[in-house]
């Protein structure tokens, strides 16, 4: 008697499309001191003013050309649009958490008189 076909069901997570990498994350690793005005101008055009500064540029032939001009000084990664951070975003990212939360006030309670307002 022919056996019924056995169907093995494997649970695999649904395939999620990876986000398209649309931007260059450019970090200046080496300084352009004594390299001349043209290379300094290229860095300024990219928005890089100091070492270890990070800027984000969309994938365009213009941005690619500028990076190629200063490729020895710069570290580049491809990132999706969701990872793009403005200078202010980067600053907030670096900020340490406060570490405290205001819970109440003791101004009404002093020397055993009044109560601690929560």
């Amino acid at each position: 008697m022919p056996q019924p076909p056995t169907v093995s069901v494997s649970t695999t997570p649904p395939h999620v499309e990876p986000e398209p990498l649309t931007h260059y994350k450019i970090t200046l690793r080496r300084s352009a001191i004594s390299l001349g005005d043209k290379i300094k101008g290229t860095l300024v055009a990219l928005g890089l003013h100091r070492r270890m500064q990070t800027v984000y540029h969309r994938h365009t032939p213009e941005a690619a050309g500028k990076i190629l001009r200063v490729k020895e000084l710069v570290e580049v990664h491809n990132v999706p649009a969701s990872k793009v951070m403005t200078a202010q975003d980067q600053r907030m990212d670096r900020k340490a958490p406060r570490g405290y939360k205001v819970v109440g006030s003791r101004m009404n309670a002093f020397m055993g008189v009044g109560e601690f307002k929560n």
Binding site: A96, P97, R98, G99, Y100, K101, V102, V103, G104, S105, R106, M107, F116
Partner: protein
């Protein structure tokens, strides 16, 4: 007999110093000791704090005198013989520390003197650095982890 005792001392030490298996057991050990300390991250800097300390930090502009603050980021809690290290912080349900703002002060007067010689330029800047002082309250280790 003395030699036998001497041989069993390392084994006894090992028995006393086996690490506890759960956070509750570790906190029990710490709570059994009379005095405790914490290492807390306060506005980006780590301080070793004990109850009744006065902590002086750069001026906090969003806080008034008399305000009571809970310390959220506690990295380590310890006593004389035991330490509990967080990963990276200990949950606030396990340890509770409060601090009261005592005063907003300024430091002593500093005089900054600037001069460029032979140019007729000199100036004196007087400056007092603003600080905030906090009194650290008791370190509470609740028996049942509160929400």
């Amino acid at each position: 007999m003395l030699a036998r005792l001497a041989r069993s001392v390392p084994a006894l030490c090992r028995a006393v110093h086996t690490p506890p298996t759960s956070t509750t057991a570790a906190l029990e050990l710490i709570r059994s000791q009379p005095s405790h300390y914490i290492i807390a991250n306060f506005v980006g800097t780590k301080y070793i704090l004990t109850p009744r300390d006065v902590l002086t930090v750069p001026r906090l502009r969003d806080v008034k005198v008399g305000d009571v603050l809970t310390l959220d980021e506690i990295h380590e809690l310890g006593s004389r013989e035991y330490t509990l290290r967080g990963n990276p912080t200990i949950s606030p349900s396990r340890v509770r520390v409060q601090a009261t703002v005592v005063e907003h002060t300024k430091g002593k007067m500093e005089f900054i003197f600037k001069k460029k010689r032979r140019k007729g330029y000199q100036k004196t800047i007087s400056h007092k650095q603003p600080y905030t002082r906090l009194r650290i309250g008791e370190i509470e280790i609740p028996i049942e982890p509160s929400s």
